[in-house]
Symmetry: C2
Subunit: 280 residues, 2 copies
C-alpha cells in the first residue's frame, strides 16, 4: 500500500516510520510546504520519496494529513477534490468541529475519516519523529458515521497496526473533552513556565532547583506555537470554559492561603489526589 | 558509621537504602511515629533495626530528620538537646526559614546542618523508597556558616556519596526560590487535577484522553497532603507571591482568548518555550 503523508513533522514522520516498519505501507511519500522538512525526513529515512501535493495524492492508497489544524482547513478540501473511491484520507488533528462543519456537503466526504491519535511529545519536526510513539495509546475516530465503511475500515486498520486502541466521539464531544483534558494542560504548562521565568530571573537557579518536579509540570511548555495557536483559535470557546474553571481553582487556593485555611487546603489536595485512581 | 533516620518515608527510606548500599553507613536505624512505617521499612530492608527516638539518637553517628516539616520544628530541638560533639544532625526539609529562626541560640546549633536534597517523586511512604533517587540531583545546604565545620563536612560527604551536587543558599533565599520553582509547580498541578475532575465527570474519558500530555502536567497532583500542607503553611508568603503571578499569567491568556489576540498569545508561547533552553 502506498501512503502519502502531508506534513512531515513529529506525528506525520512518526506515522511514516511506524507504518513502514510494521508493513502497513510498502512505500511512504512525503509532502511538506517546507523543503527542509522533506530533506530531513529523507535523511532520517522516515519517507521513501518527496513529491508535490498533486503527485503525492495521485499515487496514494491512503493520504494522512498531519499539518497544523489551520492548514488542514485549506488542504483537506483540495485533497478530497482529487481522490477517487479507492482512496482514503485521514487526518490527525486535535480539533474537529470547524474542519468537519466546513466539509459538510463535499461530494467526497465519505473518503475522509477524521482521526485523533492521542500521542505526542513536547517536541516537533521530523527530527522528533519516533517509531513507537503510538503503541498503547488511544486514537479517537470522530463522526465515523459520515465516512464510507471501507474508508473507516482502512483507517481503523492503520491505527490498530500502530498499536493504538480505538474510540469514537462526535465532533462537539471530541473538541470539548480535548479542551478539558489536553488543551488546558498545555495552557497551564505555558503559564507555569512564564510564571517561573518572570519571578526567577536567575536561570541557573531554575536549573538547580528543577529536579523538584518542576520539569514534568512544565514539560508541555516546550510545545510549538505553530501547532498550538491554530488549536486554541479553533477551540476557543471550550478552552475559555475550562480555563475559567482552572483560574477559579487556583484562586480558591489563593483565598485559602490568605485566610490561613489549611484544613480546607488539605481537603482539596486530598480531592486532587483522586486523579491517581483514574490515571493509574 | 551508624545512621539513624527519623521519619522512614520516601526520602528517609531512600536515603537508608542508598547510604547502606554505598557503604557510607554500616548500620541504619529507623525511628518513626507510625509503627507500620517501621515494619514496612524493615520488610523492605531499608533499615537494620527499629528504635525509639531516644535510643536511635543515642547510638547514631549521624541523624537524618526526614519527617514532614511541621514535625521537624518539634523534633529538631529535642534531638539537638541529646547530641554530643561527635554527632551530626541533618534534615531534608523543603522549608528552612522558620525552622532555623526558631533554632537560633540553641547550644548545639553547630551540630545541625540544614539540607534540602532536591529529589523526590509524587509517591510517599517507605513503599515508595528507591535506591537511586538522588544520583545527579542537587542538594542545597542552607546557612552552612552556622554549622560546625566537621558537621558540615559530614553532611557534604553524605550527600556526595549519594551522587548529589552541592549548592549553598541562605534560609530566606532558599525558601523564596523553592516557592518560585518547586512549590508553585505543586499548586499548579493540584489545581489542574481539580479542574479536570470538576469539568470532566466521566472518569473513563479522562483516562482515554490522558496520553495527550495531561499525565505529566498532573503528576505532582498525586503528592501527599501530609507533606505539603506544612510546607505551604511555613512558606505561605512566598507561595502567595508566586501564585499571584501564576494567576496573572493565566488571566492574560484568558484575556487574549476573549479578544482573539492570537498574535499576542503566539508571542507568549514562544517566550514560554525559552524554558527548554534552561531545562535542557
Amino acid at each position: 500500500m502506498t501512503l502519502t503523508i502531508v506534513g512531515i513533522g513529529l506525528i506525520g514522520g512518526s506515522l511514516g516510520i511506524t507504518l513502514k516498519e510494521n508493513g502497513f505501507a510498502t512505500r511512504v511519500i512525503g509532502v511538506d510546504a517546507k523543503p527542509e522538512n522533506l530533506h530531513k525526513a529523507t535523511r532520517r529515512r522516515l519517507i521513501d520519496a518527496e513529491m508535490s501535493l498533486a503527485e503525492g495524492v495521485a499515487v496514494a492508497d491512503v493520504i494522512i494529513l498531519a499539518t497544523p489544524v489551520d492548514a488542514m482547513r485549506k488542504l483537506l478540501p483540495e485533497i478530497l477534490d482529487r481522490v477517487g473511491d479507492h482512496q482514503t484520507v485521514v487526518d490527525v488533528g486535535s480539533t474537529k468541529e470547524l474542519l468537519l462543519t466546513e466539509l459538510e456537503g463535499h461530494p467526497n466526504r465519505g473518503r475522509f475519516v477524521a482521526c485523533h491519535p492521542m500521542a505526542g511529545t513536547e517536541f516537533s519536526g521530523p527530527e522528533a519523529a519516533l517509531p513507537n510513539l503510538f503503541a498503547g495509546k488511544m486514537c479517537v475516530i470522530v463522526d465515523g458515521d459520515e465516512s464510507a465503511p471501507d474508508a473507516l475500515d482502512t483507517a481503523r486498520r492503520l491505527f490498530k497496526s500502530a498499536g493504538m486502541t480505538l474510540s469514537r466521539l462526535d465532533r462537539q464531544a471530541h473538541d470539548l473533552h480535548c479542551a478539558y483534558v489536553s488543551h488546558i494542560s498545555h495552557i497551564a504548562s505555558f503559564a507555569l513556565a512564564l510564571t517561573v521565568l518572570e519571578k526567577e530571573k536567575d536561570e541557573q537557579r531554575i536549573f538547580d532547583l528543577a529536579s523538584s518536579g518542576f520539569g514534568s509540570t512544565v514539560r508541555l511548555a516546550k510545545s510549538s506555537a505553530d501547532m498550538w495557536i491554530p488549536i486554541f483559535r479553533q477551540n476557543r470557546d471550550n478552552v475559555l470554559d475550562v480555563l475559567d474553571e482552572h483560574i477559579e481553582q487556583l484562586s480558591r487556593f489563593r483565598t485559602q492561603l490568605i485566610k490561613r485555611d489549611f484544613d480546607g487546603f488539605y481537603e482539596r489536595i486530598e480531592r486532587a489526589n483522586e486523579i491517581s485512581k483514574i490515571l493509574q
